[in-house]
């Protein structure tokens, strides 16, 4: 397990390769917006990606012509490592999810814990977790990858403290039990590519009902 508060560089290789599902892309984008260290990691991954692309073969161009530069609309297409300033995550929802935090439909998922599913398919789930101060989350394992981005408050897991903007990178080698700090509620968004496995019997029984 990674003890740092940044995703493994392997994530930026996959991000640069364009091989991630939407939820993972979104979480990493949000972290990149606040983390210059990871922007540097992404740039390195893009350098290698450029080696693959420009070291590759040339496709026949046939009738494929250059687009007129006057064409096309201006899209928001900035390069993550192209800017130096560090933004904050207060606009996360408006910016990345397209809705405001207050507009989410929460469901209760046990003592002090609320959940909200933002997207749900077999290999790409995104969910929000909202936990009251001091909440101890159920101990769980993963069948796949999970990235968790902190939007508000903080939590401990193992010996690491995860604060706003940090990402916890968990996979099938991780058994973890997050504990929210006492001073504030904690809101996180998580991208998951497989079902979570809770280790307590009660949670295993509840899991199908929560649909996570």
């Amino acid at each position: 397990m990674s003890t740092s508060n940044h995703p493994d560089q392997a994530w930026f290789v996959s991000y640069a390769a364009g091989s991630l599902t939407p939820s993972f892309n979104l979480l990493l984008q949000a972290h990149l917006a606040v983390c210059s260290q990871c922007r540097c990691g992404l740039k390195k991954a893009d350098e290698i990606g450029a080696q693959f692309m420009f070291g590759g073969e040339e496709a026949p161009m046939d009738n494929f012509e250059m687009p007129n530069p006057q064409l096309g609309v201006n899209q928001n297409e900035s390069i993550e490592w192209g800017k130096d300033e560090v933004t904050d995550l207060s606009q996360f929802f408006d910016h990345y999810i397209g809705t405001h935090l207050d507009g989410l439909q929460w469901m209760n998922a046990g003592k002090g814990l609320q959940l909200c599913k933002l997207s749900d398919s077999d290999d790409d789930k995104m969910l929000m977790l909202r936990a009251a101060p001091g909440t101890v989350l159920p101990k769980h394992r993963h069948n796949g990858s999970e990235l968790t981005l902190v939007l508000k408050g903080a939590y401990f897991c193992e010996d690491a403290l995860f604060k706003v903007g940090d990402i916890e990178d968990a996979d099938d080698t991780t058994l973890h039990q997050p504990v929210v700090t006492n001073d504030s509620e904690c809101i996180c968004v998580a991208a998951v590519d497989g079902p979570l496995r809770f280790s307590g019997l009660l949670q295993r029984v509840a899991q199908p009902f929560l649909g996570i």
Partner: protein
């Protein structure tokens, strides 16, 4: 501007600067001719149809035209900068296509080994150079890198394919990446 010592790479950066500083259409034409066939080929290798590959290439080149003034040659080479634009277009297109559709794409590089062994070792091209570097890595490290960049497979797809835990796949990607990067620089 950092000189790479490779004429083609320096030429690309000069062209991109000419677009950014002077809106030179001539430079845009030349950059398109240098880069578009490679971009299209890369996208086709990832499973996109000819039409789709051409559309994404066109969109990316239009972004290059519009954003060229943001290109900073002290930060990155032109090809790294353009690569980042292409993969952002790719991510955008994929967001609108389901994973299942993408998984069913017929044409992808058959296997990582095809990519590594395709070029002749005597060939001085950039492709041969990359392939030589990949051959320096142990297979267990080059394979997941090629699966990521060339075949566009996720960690989970790689883990399923080679039958190893996700954590192992991630650390092999990380270690292979670090070594490849050291060799490139």
């Amino acid at each position: 501007m950092q000189q790479s010592g490779e004429p083609e790479i320096d030429q690309e950066s000069s062209l991109l600067l000419a677009i950014g500083n002077n809106q030179s259409q001539q430079a845009y034409v030349e950059l398109f001719e240098l880069m578009a066939p490679k971009i299209k080929s890369f996208l086709m290798g990832r499973g996109s149809s000819v039409d789709e590959s051409e559309n994404v290439t066109q969109d990316a080149m239009l972004s290059v035209w519009r954003k060229a003034d943001l290109f900073d040659p002290n930060k990155a080479s032109a090809r790294t900068w353009v690569y980042a634009i292409v993969r952002n277009r790719l991510i955008d297109v994929q967001r609108k296509t389901s994973r299942v559709d993408r998984g069913n794409k017929k044409y992808r590089y058959q296997s990582g080994n095809d990519f590594i062994s395709n070029g002749g070792v005597n060939d001085a091209s950039a492709q041969a150079q990359l392939q030589r570097l990949l051959q320096e890595l142990p297979d267990e490290q080059s394979q997941p890198l090629v699966m990521s960049y060339v075949q566009g497979m996720s960690h989970k797809e790689i883990a399923n394919k080679i039958g190893l835990p996700l954590g192992t796949v991630k650390s092999r990607i990380r270690m292979g990446f670090q070594r490849l990067q050291e060799m490139v620089n």
